[in-house]
Symmetry: C2
Subunit: 338 residues, 2 copies
């Protein structure tokens, strides 16, 4: 069960939908019988069951729309051995009422209010089974009913490697303070290097952030290229000197790091969230304590061997590894239900 | 458990919140121990338990916000003998998982997709107990697990009666095609009478409707007075010649009809939804088959005795009657759960 707001895989923004696409296809490749509940404009090797012909992106977050989608799946729960739920708390809550073991992947952070809500929800659900996308993600709520950590993965066939690097810094991410486009700008200005920024800027809060903290700095050298397609993203990654990941919050995973490593651009990231689980500092990327140190870390990033970082993604973040992790998590979930 | 989008009672728009306010106070007056789950800016004789200090109106319909509110109540479900749920399908679904009998009042229509969703939801819930606000509301889905019809009510102390009538027609309702402000305008123009329109016009679809079908007709005589306070509404009702209720859909109840009857203005309504359950045609108001007949029905409306229509509201739509109906529904719900 995918979130229903974007097609699987998504045309632009949609990290969760990319993981769902890869997981559904990977499970089919591994010989399993899989039904994907997602919007009708999705493409998958699994059987597709859709209540909406087109993803209702403009309704994102609205109860009625996700409830219809969830009920379409959960009404058929008896048809399945296990439900792999990637929706929000609604899917977890409703799905854990049914007869079928359900493993809910937490894709968001658990600090603050969401963590408290998860705790309150699972207190009502005797069988709840949660999957984390990193060990760090569990840290604010270690006592939730975790069954596994299943780190995200990449379809490496669509992230072609290019060992040569370009001359600009790159920032990929939604236009929100969390992701830190404004910090990437400060680093680029300090280093006197060109910067390309790409990412979603649609919702009112994103537009506000962009107008306040990004737009005033745009120039010939600091360029916002908009929300990019997959192909454009790869192109940007293949020609960057380094990708900046200047977060100041505990991001649960950070797909852009492995995307960058796969294509050849070294990542310079701040030590928050899952960063140390994804990057081996000095070997497959560079980790700094504060974003203000990013400029000084650039030479160290230049020295990262692109072959080494590519190989790390192939070994640690392949779909096969993720599929195997999920299958083990499903077994654990079925046991908990029994 | 109230919807959380507006305070209880609401300052402006909020029909459900008015009913919840009246019911909670009425249950306390009848000697019951009541906790109201609503936003912190609510006012009630019950104990108030609020997860949000101020109603998050600008988040209306968003899962995360209503889920937090619902979980705040349902986490305490064991403290109560029965939960009277006035939220949407989320409250019904989550609440029916808990240990405490829950009676869910359906405030919206059941034609089309919502009716199908209710059917799918209750199929997952062995104990589900639904309350209708009119018999007509049940008509598209007669086989849902209905325990009672509890028609809405008015706090007559805040709807003072005025037997003399004024010279203008009145339309009260949200600016949507369903409610029919544009049909009221056509009637007023045909009759050559002034018309006052009042009602909520905040959301994009309401503004679009208003710009397309209402604004072009505004003049000295066709006047939109905005979203009104309770006092302004009473003032409008006390001085109207008649209130037009030109719906063309099966509205589940139609509070504005009893508000108008209480204050003295006769209602001319189209025969849809619960209209015949609320108005006794020719005695407490006038019912026409098509809105195009409203102009011709005006003399008949002038002849409706204001004392008779006031008394009908006092007898059939008093809070005491509604509270008694709800208490019987709670008993039936507790029996179903046992």
């Amino acid at each position: 069960m995918s979130p229903v707001w974007f097609p699987v895989p998504p045309a632009g923004y949609g990290g969760i939908e990319w993981i769902v696409a890869l997981l559904a296809d990977g499970l089919v490749d591994a010989g399993h019988d899989v039904t994907l509940f997602a919007s009708g404009d999705s493409h998958t090797k699994a059987r597709l069951d859709a209540v909406y012909p087109v993803a209702p992106s403009e309704r994102i977050g609205h109860t009625y729309w996700e409830l219809r989608h969830a009920i379409n799946c959960l009404g058929r729960a008896g048809d399945f051995d296990v439900i792999s739920d990637h929706t929000g708390m609604l899917g977890l809550t409703l799905g854990s009422m049914g007869p079928t073991p359900l493993a809910h992947t937490v894709h968001g952070p658990l600090s603050g209010e969401p963590g408290v809500m998860y705790r309150q929800i699972v207190a009502m659900l005797p069988h709840a089974a949660l999957i984390a996308v990193s060990d760090d993600q569990r840290e604010p709520q270690p006592d939730l009913p975790w069954v596994a950590t299943c780190r995200n993965a990449l379809d490496l066939s669509v992230y072609p490697f290019r060992p040569e690097r370009g001359d600009y810094l790159l920032f990929l991410g939604r236009m929100t303070a969390d992701k830190g486009a404004h910090r990437a700008i400060a680093v680029a200005i300090e280093c006197g290097l060109p910067l390309k920024l790409a990412g979603k800027c649609r919702e009112p809060l994103e537009q506000q952030y962009f107008d306040d903290l990004v737009r005033p700095h745009l120039s010939d050298r600091i360029e916002y290229v908009g929300e990019v397609t997959h192909g454009e993203k790869v192109e940007l990654l293949q020609h960057a000197r380094a990708t900046l990941f200047p977060i100041e919050w505990d991001e649960p995973f950070g797909l852009v790091m492995i995307e960058s490593m796969a294509c050849g651009a070294p990542v310079i990231a701040t030590r928050f969230g899952a960063v140390p689980e994804v990057i081996e500092d000095g070997v497959t990327g560079v980790i700094v304590d504060r974003w203000q140190e990013m400029g000084a870390a650039l030479e160290q990033a230049d020295a990262i061997d692109p072959q080494v970082q590519r190989r790390a993604v192939e070994e640690r973040f392949s779909p096969q590894r993720m599929v195997a992790d999920y299958l083990a998590a499903y077994e654990a979930t079925i046991e908990r239900w029994a």
